[in-house]
Structures are given as structure tokens and as C-alpha cells.
Amino acid sequence: MGKTLYEKLWEEHLVVAPVGEPALLYIDLHLVHEVTSPQAFDGLRLNRRPVRRPDLTLATADHNVPTDPLSVPVADPTSKRQLEALDENCREFGITLFARGNENQGIVHVIGPELGATQPGMTIVCGDSHTSTHGAFGSLAFGIGTSEVEHVLATQTLPQQKAKTMAVTLTGAVPAGVGAKDIVLAIVQRLGTGGGAGYVIEYRGQAISALSMEGRMTICNMSIEAGARAGLIGVDETTIDYLKNRPNIDMTKFDSLAASWRNWVSDEDAHFDHEVVIDATTLQPFMTWGTNPAQVVAIDGVVPDPSTFSDPEERATAERSLTYMGLKANTPMREIPVDVVFIGSCTNSRIEDLRAAAAVAQRGRVASSVRALVVPGSHRVKAQAEAEGLDQIFINAGFEWREPGCSMCLGMNPDQLTPGQRSASTSNRNFEGRQGRQGRTHLLSPAVAAATALKGRFATPDEVLA
């Protein structure tokens, strides 16, 4: 029988499997950011251990950085201290760091791929659960905690237990106006927040193959929202085209690299432990209504009525969510006003996301009741968007055009919701307080976010393009 992509990646990176101990996997790329690393570097110092492979380690500052103009200093002293700690640690241990203001700086899951550091067939870890993003390149990529960050810094390996495999197949093509974010929201709704626990998910099928790399990254990014540590998409010509001429790609060897990359796919007859099939032709623009990312509804739909839920626990969860969100059952989603629109995050801040939002934004102006932010994922994305004139489209329409970073996705920097504010956000988590204390988050696609900004309530692009 053939092997799945996951099994191939596992076997290729197996260092040793001692009896009675977990298997040891080699890590090809370790991405580091300021939030989950300081205590790991302290551990190294305490035990007088060096970083084993600084040449396989890449750091950037993203979670804490303000998105104000670079001339504005970091005001929050604890954020400043954490950013300084990353500077000092990278200098002491010889790790490349793209700090605030560096031309390569950006959200860790945006810069890895755009620099070509992320490549097919690799193992990639980072102290961040959205590391699953890099699985879009046929690489095994997953988030780790700070103890594991220290482990990888010291040994370039991780003890791992083998995951189960799940295939999620999207058959057929999505209807016009439906994109990667809608697909992944549908997947998370179908699997639930715990459905992927213990699994590595491989996404496949016509609707996945048709996606750009940006779209595939959006899909793999939210694997963790269904509980799976890693998501995978097999390599094809779209993958290879994306990597061409990226800074870390040796173009003198590109053909042989590409030939080896093409092997990172599941065999035709590979067996998965679990399979899920979703008919892509039935999908439509989606958004979340509650406080976990599986609470998804069509934008055409209404706020669900918990009293119709048969499972008592689900009903209690839904009631709690609606109270927090300040919503009434059966309200049409399109009638709900928003206060803030956030376009950004490791889910949706790449050039294609900004193009999709700009195409809508140029048809009108941001409603007077709305604050709308566009936060490019990296300086490279920002520069590309500016070269295409997207910044002017956003600014002319009344959006704020900001410096790169994680920003309002998790509100560790000054970009936060105030209590009770409702946001339409292209990020990945609608947890209570995620974007600011008592803030209310609805997850949706960049195009829907832009339409919502113009209308001042949840809206789809056709409402402004018509």
C-alpha cells in the first residue's frame, strides 16, 4: 500500500526511535518570535547550552510590534522589554533576526514562505499554533510550546508521537465569490473545534488544487482551529511556481529542487485513518457568529437559535456565546452593524488578500461609523501592495494603511477593540477577549470584510459591486 504525505515526511525526518522513548524528529527550520522564546533562551543560559543550528533558525518580531509609523517608538514598556529581549537573545546566540523596521520583517508565517525559507518536504516548527500555515507547501509544520522551543534550539530535534492521518477532500469547484476563507470556515464548522485533535489533516480535491498558494496557506493556517496541529497540501506546479526566485531559493539548482519537491504528495493508494468529503459546489460566503471558530453561519443566514439545538451542552455553549456577542437569535447577519473592520493576520494579510479587499474597497467609502484597518503581513507585502497602488485605494476609501505585524488578531499591540465593540475580522480566532477585553469578533474573508466596512454592517461584495 502507498504512503500518505505525512508518513513520507515522518520517515524522512526520523532521527532515531529508541525503545520505550518517543521517536526523535529532525527539524529543518525553526521560526522564532518574541512572545514564546524568552523563557526558552533563559533555559539555555541556565544549562549552558548553545543553539545547535543557528543557520536553521530564523527570528522576527511580530506579535508585539505597533503598526504605527516606524518613527513612533514602542510605548508599552513590557512590549518594549520583550522586543529587546529578542534582540539580545538573537545577538547572543547568533540567530538572524528581522526586527521592527527591517525590510524582511513581518508576521512569522508570512515571511517564511515569501522568503523561500519554507520549502516542500521540510519539518518546520515555531512557538505559535498557526505554524500549520506552512503545510501548504507539503511540509510538516506545527506549533510548539516554549519548552519545545528550548528543546529545538538545543538539539534541532523534537520527541514526537506519530499523529493519525485525515483526508479532507473538497470535491468540485467553489461558486463565484467563494474563496479560501469560506472553504476553511466550512471545514472547521464541519469538524468542530476538537474534530482534528490527534490528526494531521491533508486537504485535497479540485477546490483545493485550484487555489493559489496564498489561498492554500489560509486553509492550512486554520487547521488548528479544528484541533489539528498540522495541515498539509501536496506539492504541484502552483507550489513550484510560487517558490521561483524567492530570496532563499538557489535558482542555479531550481530544476533539480523542483524535481525533488514533486515527490512530496500522498501516493494514489495511500490509506488515511479518517476521511471527510465536502461538496465545494454548495459553499457560500461564511462568517462566525459565536466565540469559537466552529460557530459558523452563511452571511445570507441568521443568528442561530440555541433552543433548536438538541445537544444540551451545545445549547448551553451557544447561549453563552450569544450573550457574550450581544446577539439575538434569528437576526439576519446582514442587519448586524459593526464598529471595526480588521484586514490582516497570518490567515489573510498576503498580497492576494489585499488585492481582493482593494477590488471591493475601490467601489465606495468606509461607513462613517466604522474604523477600518489594513495591516499587511510583512514589509514585502506592503511594498508590493504599494507598487500596485493598493495603499492609495484603501486610503482614498477611508481605510487606515498600517505597518506590518500581528496587530488586532490578538491585540498584543495597541490595536485592540474596546469593550463591546464588534469587529469584522479576517483573522483566525473569535475567542472571548481575543481582540481586546470584551470585544466581539466575527471571522470572515478579506472581500467580505471590505464590503462590510463600506456598508457598516455585514455585507458581501456583490452588494457594493452591483
Partner: protein, 199 residues
């Protein structure tokens, strides 16, 4: 990591599902560069509410959290584990856990006990009725025991995790014993060293 053979103490029921790590420790706490002092931030948004279960006098000093399903989903922040342990919890019981949270817990010696949803519900009722009843999570025998109620239930844990908890192993020290295998791997596999643009 300190060895842990058993966790004893009173329990507290958290009757909420999908308690993600953002709820366990909100992101404003993540700016700290220390590993200690996170107990104060544990469930900080909910603890402002006087009726929150951890604010009840009868549950002060609880050592075992009996939580709803899908506990510890979301963000990889190990700060969630540090916060639970700093507050005083030594074991978490639920019907399911986030994968990264479970992994992080095992690195710190926070004991993760998975029981069926029905047994979790039974245990929640017990600790709500009798907040002072002592519970025992025994890592050696792999049982949860409430002697006062004659309630004893086995739980599963893989042998490696169990041994690591009982022995208090230092994971990095263990791996470094495999240094020659790591060197051998590096000699026989193509390097992915970042090129000069990125170094």
C-alpha cells in the same frame, strides 16, 4: 521537571466547554519574559466576576480542575500551563484536550487526565456537592480516586508520558544522549541552511 507521582487536594468544576488558552491566560500576560507569576492572570477576565467558581470561598486552594470538553484548545502558549500550575493546580481532568496544551502540560508536570464525558460530569457533581472532599490523581496506578464517595476510575496515559512524570525526566538531557544519532542524521541528509540573504 519535578517528578510527580500523585496529585492530592480538593477539586473545582469548570462547567464550560471549549476553554481555549486565550481564556486560561489572556494575551496581555504574554508580554512577560519571566516564567513565574502567571497564576494571577489565570482566567483573569472571568475572575473579575465575583460569581466565578474560582472566586468561591469553598474552592480556595483547589489542586484539581475538573473542566468541560475540549479544554486548552487554540494558541500554543505554554503560559497557560504556567498559569494553572502557578495558581496551584496539579492536575486537569476533562473529556478532551487541545493537542499542544496536552503536550506543554507533560513538559511541566501538569497531569492531564482524560475521562469520559459522563465520568467528568459525575466528578463535577461530586466536587460541587462536597467542595472539601479530597481527590487523588495517582500517576503510578493511573486512577482518579474520591475515597469519601467510594468513586475510583482508571484513566489511560501512554507509558512514556507516565514514566516521564514519575521520573521527572529532563527532555533535553534525554535527547542529548542521542547526539551521535543526530550528527549521523545531519551527515546523511541534505542541509536546509538558510542562504546568505537570510543570515
Amino acid at each position: 521537571m519535578k517528578a510527580v507521582a500523585r496529585v492530592t487536594g480538593t477539586g473545582v468544576a469548570l462547567r464550560r466547554s471549549d476553554v481555549d488558552t486565550d481564556q486560561i491566560i489572556p494575551s496581555e500576560w504574554l508580554k512577560r519574559v519571566e516564567r513565574t507569576g502567571f497564576g494571577q492572570g489565570l482566567f483573569s477576565e472571568w475572575r473579575d466576576d465575583p460569581s466565578f467558581v474560582l472566586n468561591q470561598p469553598e474552592h480556595q486552594g483547589a489542586a484539581i480542575l475538573v473542566a468541560g470538553p475540549r479544554f486548552g484548545t487554540g494558541s500554543s502558549r505554554e503560559h497557560a500551563v504556567w498559569a494553572l500550575m502557578d495558581y496551584g493546580f496539579g492536575a486537569i481532568i476533562s473529556s478532551s484536550f487541545g493537542d499542544i496544551f496536552r503536550n506543554n502540560s507533560s513538559k511541566q508536570g501538569l497531569v492531564i487526565v482524560q475521562l469520559s464525558a459522563q465520568l467528568v460530569e459525575e466528578l463535577q457533581s461530586i466536587v460541587e456537592q462536597s467542595p472539601n472532599t479530597p481527590l487523588i490523581v495517582d500517576v503510578q496506578r493511573l486512577v482518579v480516586e474520591v475515597a469519601d464517595f467510594d468513586w475510583i476510575q482508571p484513566f489511560a496515559m501512554d507509558a512514556i508520558t507516565q514514566e516521564r512524570l514519575l521520573e521527572g525526566w529532563d527532555d533535553i538531557g534525554l535527547t542529548l544522549r542521542q547526539s551521535s544519532a543526530i550528527e549521523q542524521y545531519e551527515r546523511t541528509h541534505a542541509s536546509h541552511a538558510l542562504n546568505s540573504t537570510l543570515q
